[in-house]
């Protein structure tokens, strides 16, 4: 049996204040199989981007990281820098929210893709250039032969995101980690980039780890999803099942909040917007002992303030909520 492509066990990313450590990512465990698309969903401050940075060995300097992250069975803690370099970019590609965040403004597009290619393959500069043009064609950048000599500032946001993708794919990685890949783009351009991502997943058999706050995106682009709240996984399982029947009160609330165009005459006008009362607690002011979502939860009952719920199993879905604990559930108000 081969090891999963990515295996994460009890991963924590903590920050210190007043001599105490506070977990922004709190004992997160999951696996990613080859070829699947896993989404990490949650609002700002839930820890999803920190999780992504920890996965590629680039946590903030002030953070303390614990737990295990293994890529293809290889534990990355204590990996020498040069091995990390080879893994990152070689086996793992990264795509960021800000188009062009990973691009150097003073070097041409071709130089940057070529460099990424030559880091991982022994080829001549001419061959690297030829491959760079090939990558640009693969990401559907118009006129790749001349675009290869352009500087990033000459490109539009959508074009920069395509070039970012070409750089991420330069060394033929097995997995692409995409952190809010379309959030900064206009909707018609975002639709193009998503189309392209779906095409690349099929043509390359690429594994995708998609980090996003946008549940619509998660619903369409992933096979499995983790919903994060205050650093912890609160719900996990098959994406279609989570969207068919969300379990956790937070997931249910979040889904209800999605602005949607609904059919019906006049039904779209002046409806109330769904919202979740209160706000995501600050990292240093999270409730002690109980469920972090309890203060905002419409279904809160006695056990919620006493201890942190573990993940309960419910029809193939993992859900961190006492409503799904066989011993206490009858006392809580569970959605039917």
């Amino acid at each position: 049996m081969t090891a999963p492509l990515l295996s994460v066990t009890d991963l924590a990313v903590e920050f210190a204040r007043g001599g105490r450590w506070f977990p922004a990512v709190d004992r997160v465990s999951f696996e990613v199989e080859r070829g699947e698309a896993l989404a990490v969903a949650g609002e700002s401050g839930c820890g999803k981007s920190l999780l992504a940075r920890a996965l590629i060995g680039l946590p903030p300097d002030s953070a303390r990281v614990s737990g295990q992250v293994a890529w293809e069975g290889r534990e990355i803690n204590g990996l020498p820098d040069e091995d990390w370099e080879r893994l990152r970019g070689g086996r793992i590609g990264m795509l960021f929210q800000e188009p062009g965040a990973a691009l150097d403004p003073v070097r041409t597009v071709g130089d940057q893709i070529g460099e990424a290619i030559r880091l991982h393959a022994r080829v001549s500069p001419a061959e690297a250039r030829r491959r760079a043009i090939e990558r640009l064609r693969e990401v559907s950048l118009p006129d790749p032969e001349s675009a290869v000599d352009e500087y990033p500032h000459r490109l539009s946001g959508g074009q920069k995101q395509r070039v970012g993708l070409a750089v991420a794919l330069a060394a033929d990685p097995a997995v692409l980690i995409a952190d809010e890949p379309t959030t900064a783009l206009d909707s018609t351009i975002a639709a193009q980039v998503l189309d392209l991502l779906a095409r690349l997943r099929r043509s390359r058999g690429l594994t995708l780890v998609l980090i996003s706050h946008d549940l619509g995106l998660v619903a369409r682009e992933s096979d499995r999803a983790l919903v994060l709240y205050a650093g912890r996984i609160v719900e996990e399982g098959s994406t279609s099942e989570i969207f068919r029947a969300p379990r956790h009160p937070y997931t249910r609330g979040l889904l209800a909040c999605q602005p949607r165009l609904t059919a019906g005459s006049g039904g779209i006008r002046h409806g109330r917007f769904a919202a979740i009362a209160g706000m995501v607690p600050d990292l240093f002011e999270r409730p002690d002992g109980g469920c972090a979502f309890a203060p905002r939860c419409p279904d809160r009952f006695e056990p919620c303030d006493r201890s942190q719920p573990p993940l309960f199993a419910d029809g193939g879905i993992g859900v961190r909520c006492f409503l799904y604990d066989g011993r206490t559930a009858d006392r809580g108000r569970r959605a039917s």
């Binding site: 909707s187 018609t188 909040c257 059919a263 409806g271 917007f273």
Partner: protein, 336 residues
Amino acid sequence: MSSAEPLFEARDLVKLYEVRRGVFGASAGKVRAVDGVSLAVARGETLGLVGESGSGKSTTGRLILRLEKPTAGQMRFDGEDWSALSGGRLRAKRRDIQMVFQDPQSSLHPLLKVGDQVAEPLRVQRITRGRAVAERVAALLADVGLSPAAADRYPAELSGGQRQRVAIARALATGPKLLVCDEPVSALDVSVAGQILNLLADLRERRGMAAVFIAHDLAVVARVADRIAVFYCGRIVEEGPAADVVARPLHPYTVALLAAATASSSSGSPRGLVLAGEPPSRVAPPSGCAFHPRCPIARPRCAVDTPPLEERPGGHAAACFYAGELRPVAAGGPPV
């Protein structure tokens, strides 16, 4: 003044920006940021302006607020020639037209307490003086769902949603008749955005206030606005009652925007219509209809003639020679 006269009316607004090469360079051309926009807002009505970045919707908002001078065109507001007002008359009239921007972080002064910021317009407009100011500030904070204690906090001590509430309280201080909101929730998490949208709806209803609501998210605008104007490349390409525009879009661009919005709000649905290309250069826009290079139903005529915004029965207008020809694609259910 006849009661049929709209609260606000703009006719043929144009805003040109000079583009220069280098710091002292010669003019490289003019960007037509707003290119002949006419619109009207009735008392108590909410007009939604929707479009992608660079479409001219925000510049139109700034012209309405008279934060910038239009290159050409007329505006009437509340029975007066708004575009001609100047000096003391303009300053006095400004109390009737206020704004809420996207990022409360940058529209609030970081070093002033919340109470002082809400009080400022009261003092500037000489609405309230002395002891009455504190009472009025507390009442305004209560109107937006904040406790009186918030007056002593600094913006940095508040969450994004709370800061937007402060910005709204500040805008309401002078009792405006028209509120211009530019992307008021796009910087907020979705679970908090609903709270702010509901608050804005309540305030409009309670105060009988009219609003211009500018946003890129059609799903949000459709729920908030009575009428919608769709912007592309500095022009209004479609305008009409919100329910009509969403249920029976006439312009192919609106159909594409709807497809993107529908796709992002439903799970497991196929990606509908994906537009090719990107919005054109604003310095040298295409001939004829600016949308024709991306339009799935463009014909030779579209590259030559510019379609006027033509009104159809029911107050629904579109600027397209083949309006209504492209139908929305069913995406995971009946067409919206």
